[in-house]
C-alpha cells in the first residue's frame, strides 16, 4: 500500500526531537535505517528462493527452526556491522584520550 492509497495519519501529534545536531542528519539516518530494513527483507526473500531451489532439486526444505536461527544470526551480524562505528565511540572521552595518546606518540617520534 503506497502513501497515496493510505487513509491513516502518518505523523504523530507531539514533538519530534532531533539528537544529531540538525534535521538533515536525522532525516538521512531515518532513510538509512529504512533501506537497511528493506535490504534485510530482501536477504530473507533470497533465502526463501534458495529453499525453493533445494526443494525443486529434491533435497527437501530445511527445518523451519534452522531457517529462523540462521536468519536471526544474519540480521544480528548485519546490525553489528552497521553499529560498529557507533560502538567505536567517536567523540567520547575514551576516544579523545586515544587521540591525545596518538598525537603524543607522533611528537615523540620527531624528537
Amino acid at each position: 500500500m503506497t502513501a497515496s492509497q493510505s487513509n491513516r495519519p502518518r505523523v504523530p501529534a507531539g514533538a519530534r526531537p532531533v539528537f544529531l545536531g540538525d534535521g538533515v542528519s536525522e532525516t538521512l539516518l531515518g532513510m538509512l535505517l529504512a533501506l537497511a530494513t528493506e535490504t534485510s527483507a530482501l536477504a530473507d526473500e533470497i533465502d526463501d528462493l534458495r529453499e525453493a531451489l533445494r526443494e525443486a532439486r529434491g533435497d527437501g526444505r530445511s527445518d523451519p527452526t534452522d531457517i529462523e536461527s540462521r536468519r536471526v544470526l544474519r540480521r544480528r551480524a548485519m546490525i553489528e556491522r552497521m553499529l560498529r562505528i557507533v560502538q567505536e565511540g567517536l567523540g567520547s572521552q575514551a576516544n579523545e584520550q586515544r587521540n591525545a595518546a596518538y598525537r603524543e606518540f607522533v611528537e615523540q617520534l620527531s624528537r
Binding site: 500500500m1 502518518r10 535505517l33 530494513t37
Partner: protein, 388 residues
C-alpha cells in the same frame, strides 16, 4: 563491553519467534512474508540498541565521572551530553518510527476484513457483552498527543465500527516488547493475579473491573483465576473495546466491555470487589490519577482491593543512570506523564482518596513476569479499602 549474556539473547529470540510466528487468535493481524521480514529486522535492531548500545552508554557515563548515586539532575545532564546517548536516541527514535509505520501499514491493508470479522464475532457473541457510549469525550491526556508516537492514537477511527487502532496496538506491543510478554501479551495481568493471590490469599471476588483495558490482553488472566467473578473491562477507546470484545469471544472468555472514563466509574458506591489497571497510571496525569484513586475507593466494597500494575521505571534497585535512561520515554517518545508519575507521593494520594495508610502497598513483585524494558519485576501499587 558488557553485552547481554548469550543465554539471555537466545531466550529473547525464541520468545519473539514464538510470539510472532503464530497468530494467537483469529483477529490478530495477518502478515506477509515481507512484513514479517521487515519487523524481524526491526526487532533485532531494537535488541541491539537495548542489549549492546545501552551498556555502552553506562560505560561512558561512568568514564565521564558519573556515579550510581549521583543526583538525578546531574546524572540526566551528563547522560544527555554523551555522544553514545545521542546516537542511541537517534537510532531508537528512527527504529520506533519504522516499527510503528510497518505495523500500521500491515493492519491498514486488512482493516476492512478485521472490522468485518469483529462484527461477525460480536453478532454471535456467547460469553461477554459490549456497551459503547458515543457521547464519551476522552480526557486530554489521551487526546492531546499521540501516546508512544502512534499517529492517531488509541481512539482513531478510519471507518464506522473500526478496529484498526486496536489491531495495530496488539501487533505493535508484541513487537515492541520483543515478544517477552507472552503470545497473548498477558504478563501484566498474570503478574497482577499472582500478586493478589499472594498478598490477599482469602480474596474471593465476585466483581472485578479492569481500568484502561485496551484490547483486554491483561484482563483475561483474571477471568481464569477468579471464575466466580464477573469481569468488566473499561476504556475510553471504542476501537479498543470492539476489538477486545471480539478477541475475548474468540478466546472463549466472558468479559463485559464498557466505554467509560476511569475518572468517573459507572458503578454505585461499594459495589465492586477488585479494581485493577495495567500500565494505566503513567498514561494519565496528577489530577486525573487523584480522581481515579477517589473513584476506586468509592466503588469498592469494604475489604475490596485497588491494584495498579505499572512499569517499574526508576524503581527497585535502579541507580541514577537507570533513572536518567527511564526518562527517555518522556522526552523522546510521547509518554508525557512517565517522569511525572514517578515524582508523585502516591501513598499520600491514596490516603487523600480515602484509603487507610496501613493498607497501601507499593512494591515490585517478582512472580516470574518482568517488564521487557528493564527486565525488572512489575510494579504493584494500590490499597485495600478498610471500613470501620
Amino acid at each position: 563491553m558488557a553485552a547481554l549474556p548469550a543465554c539471555q539473547r537466545a531466550e529473547g529470540r525464541s520468545a519473539v519467534a514464538e510470539a510472532s510466528g503464530k497468530r494467537p487468535h483469529e483477529l490478530f493481524p495477518e502478515r506477509t512474508a515481507g512484513e514479517v521480514a521487515r519487523q524481524a529486522f526491526l526487532v533485532e535492531f531494537k535488541k541491539a540498541l537495548v542489549h549492546d548500545l545501552r551498556p555502552r552508554i553506562r560505560e561512558d557515563f561512568l568514564a565521564a565521572g558519573g556515579k550510581p548515586d549521583d543526583a538525578d539532575v546531574r546524572a540526566a545532564a551528563l547522560v544527555a551530553s554523551l555522544p553514545s546517548h545521542r546516537w542511541y536516541s537517534a537510532l531508537a527514535r528512527a527504529q520506533h518510527e519504522l516499527y510503528v509505520d510497518s505495523t500500521a501499514e500491515c493492519v491498514e491493508r486488512q482493516a476492512v476484513a478485521l472490522r468485518d470479522r469483529a462484527r461477525a464475532v460480536r453478532n454471535a457473541a456467547r460469553h461477554g457483552t459490549l456497551h459503547l457510549d458515543p457521547s464519551l469525550v476522552p480526557p486530554s491526556y489521551q487526546s492531546a498527543v499521540d501516546i508512544h508516537c502512534v499517529p492517531g492514537g488509541y481512539n482513531l477511527e478510519l471507518m464506522p465500527d473500526d478496529v484498526y487502532a486496536a489491531a495495530r496496538y496488539e501487533l505493535g506491543i508484541t513487537l515492541y516488547t520483543l515478544g517477552q510478554h507472552g503470545a497473548l501479551n498477558d504478563s501484566k495481568g498474570q503478574a497482577g493475579v499472582a500478586f493478589l493471590q499472594t498478598r490477599f490469599p482469602q480474596l474471593d471476588p465476585r466483581s472485578i473491573v479492569d481500568l484502561g483495558c485496551t484490547v483486554g490482553n491483561s484482563t483475561l488472566p483474571y477471568v481464569d483465576a477468579f471464575p466466580a467473578a464477573t469481569v468488566t473491562g473499561i476504556d475510553v477507546s471504542a476501537p479498543a473495546l470492539r476489538y477486545a470484545h471480539a478477541r475475548s469471544e474468540l478466546l472463549g472468555r466472558a468479559v463485559h466491555f464498557r466505554q467509560a472514563n476511569a475518572e468517573k466509574l459507572p458503578w454505585a458506591d461499594g459495589s465492586v470487589d477488585v479494581v485493577v489497571s495495567h500500565i494505566l497510571m503513567h498514561e494519565t496525569s496528577r489530577r486525573g490519577l487523584a480522581r481515579i484513586f477517589t473513584e476506586c475507593h468509592r466503588v469498592l466494597r469494604c475489604g475490596g482491593v485497588m491494584l495498579h500494575v505499572d512499569v517499574p521505571a526508576g524503581r527497585g534497585d535502579a541507580d541514577a543512570f537507570d533513572r536518567a535512561m527511564a526518562d527517555w520515554e518522556t522526552d523522546n517518545n510521547n509518554e508525557p506523564f512517565w517522569r511525572g508519575l514517578h515524582a508523585l507521593d502516591l501513598p499520600h494520594m491514596a490516603v487523600e482518596a480515602g484509603f487507610d495508610a496501613a493498607s497501601v502497598f507499593d512494591e515490585c513483585f517478582d512472580a516470574g513476569h518482568v517488564a521487557f524494558i528493564n527486565g525488572r519485576p512489575w510494579w504493584m501499587f494500590g490499597a485495600r479499602k478498610e471500613c470501620p
